[in-house]
Assembly symmetry: C2
Homo-oligomer: 344 residues x 2
Amino acid sequence: MSDQSRNLDAYAKAGVDIAAGNEAVARYKGVLGAWRHPDQMDAIGGFGGVMRMPGGGDRALVASADGVGTKILIAAELERYDGVGRDLVNHCVNDILVVNATPLFFLDYLAVGKLDPEVAAAVVAGCAAACRAHMCALLGGETAEMPGLYAPGHFDLAGTIVGTVEIAALPKPETVEAGDAIVALPAVGLHTNGYSLARKFIAREEWGAPFDGTTYGDALLAEHPSYYNAVRAIQAVAHVKTMSHITGGGLLENVPRTLPSTVKAIFEQTRWSVPPIMQELVKRAELSHEERYRTLNMGIGYTLVVPLADAAKAVAAAPGAFVAGWIEARRGDEPSVVVHEARV
Amino acid sequence: MSDQSRNLDAYAKAGVDIAAGNEAVARYKGVLGAWRHPDQMDAIGGFGGVMRMPGGGDRALVASADGVGTKILIAAELERYDGVGRDLVNHCVNDILVVNATPLFFLDYLAVGKLDPEVAAAVVAGCAAACRAHMCALLGGETAEMPGLYAPGHFDLAGTIVGTVEIAALPKPETVEAGDAIVALPAVGLHTNGYSLARKFIAREEWGAPFDGTTYGDALLAEHPSYYNAVRAIQAVAHVKTMSHITGGGLLENVPRTLPSTVKAIFEQTRWSVPPIMQELVKRAELSHEERYRTLNMGIGYTLVVPLADAAKAVAAAPGAFVAGWIEARRGDEPSVVVHEARV
């Protein structure tokens, strides 16, 4: 069985169909390839779309839409509503940060089966707090009550962020070369990915039970952090060539998105610790090496490629930052990411 | 029973709680009032948020998020997937058109219980087609598979549009005065509003049955049109003071959003015909006068206030446009909108 099909098995267990996802993406490419706006620019890595700002000269707008995924079902069940707003905004901030964009404004979409104003206000308050922390306007939003689509107590939350970047400051992945260091910013938990798997292997009944000094529920709901301040601090002292936000697809799929095909990323997992909730999930779901690094972030939330000479300065600039690996030349059909792993 | 509480009754019958909606909006104001980005501008009517473009001098960005509502459940049931994408984009285009914005880019959010790549591609193709028709980039999107939140076959679709406007071209509602004419653009059906009510009173079993030269299903799914070209054509020949997109809340709630409190809008329903599907719904749900004009668009999709002297030119500039009423002075606590109605 190939690594790829093993991976599909892991997702299929959780009811998520990656093959269907890949086919949808392929079909989208056909749909979107039919016409492209002349001001659209290359969206490095695809974490956000990039568009020349009309009349804005040397600036571009960067936009990204995202949701919180099935983390929302855990939040709804445990009646913890404000965290998902911060999860969502921070996720979006990190996505456009990959192309070096500064948040400008955000809009939320909250869909509910039965509108509870207190719950809705808590969700939006979470969005507002995370927006304010980034000096990002919460410029609008939509709250939809849709009986028949959502069960009572259920809701969905998605959002769109728009930021700005100087065109000259867009990352230059083509400058990445063998010998560069990969600086990583730590993940605090699953962030907003792997929740269908988590809900399958860590049952509702356990969420209140003690785990690692907290509860399973708290560990699962640990908030997706914003890497904005850390990245800006590192950029102030180090030359950052390219970055990745480690979301669905893990290190294996996200890191290559912003690397040229001539290099590969080598990670040495002995250099960091995997959050306990992820260790637990790996054990329970019996995830293979491939599965764990493609399904979960495994403790790395964000990566930055810097010249080796800048690595120490970069690490010193942001709390928790560490050198997670390095860049090597890639030949032929070698994998783009290799993770050397200690037993978790 | 007051008109307001009658109206709540009508929605409550359909499982939509307007009182909860109003309370949520009041709470949002508290949340959002805590901090406002210094570049945010007054969002005339609240159809879209407006923000000064950084480095953009005399331009502003205008953004709006929206969903298709429970029209999606009819589309899913009848397996008609591309129309909802056009519905959504056109709805968003019309919303920001109220502040005179030209679409720049759009991002979609598609959430499904079980991902069917063909369905997903059809939905996104609908978005792409409507975007292209407006020279609007489909800059990104998110497709989320969320088993446990959505039933198999169910999906939700939302989107965010961003447009641009010259700050000098923002509408000036304060210039509206008694004697101005209200030019209307016709609605073709429910557009994206009133579907919880429609699904309650026009049952699934009837959707295939003949109705008004088509079927109930087709009449219900009639696509939300874009008023972009019509509005631009009218603006080329007439001085447009203010506009409204007639969505949830109908004429009664949407028209006053872009009028000063010193005037009221008088509509004379004998001047236009109410689409048959709406007549049917009014009859079946026994909607009061207040209910019908607050729940449904009743045949008017978009309104433009112009000086009386410009009304004939405006009407001649856009196919289907007609004078629907006029502006009068408003005193004290008079209603902001009055509809003189023939029997429907």
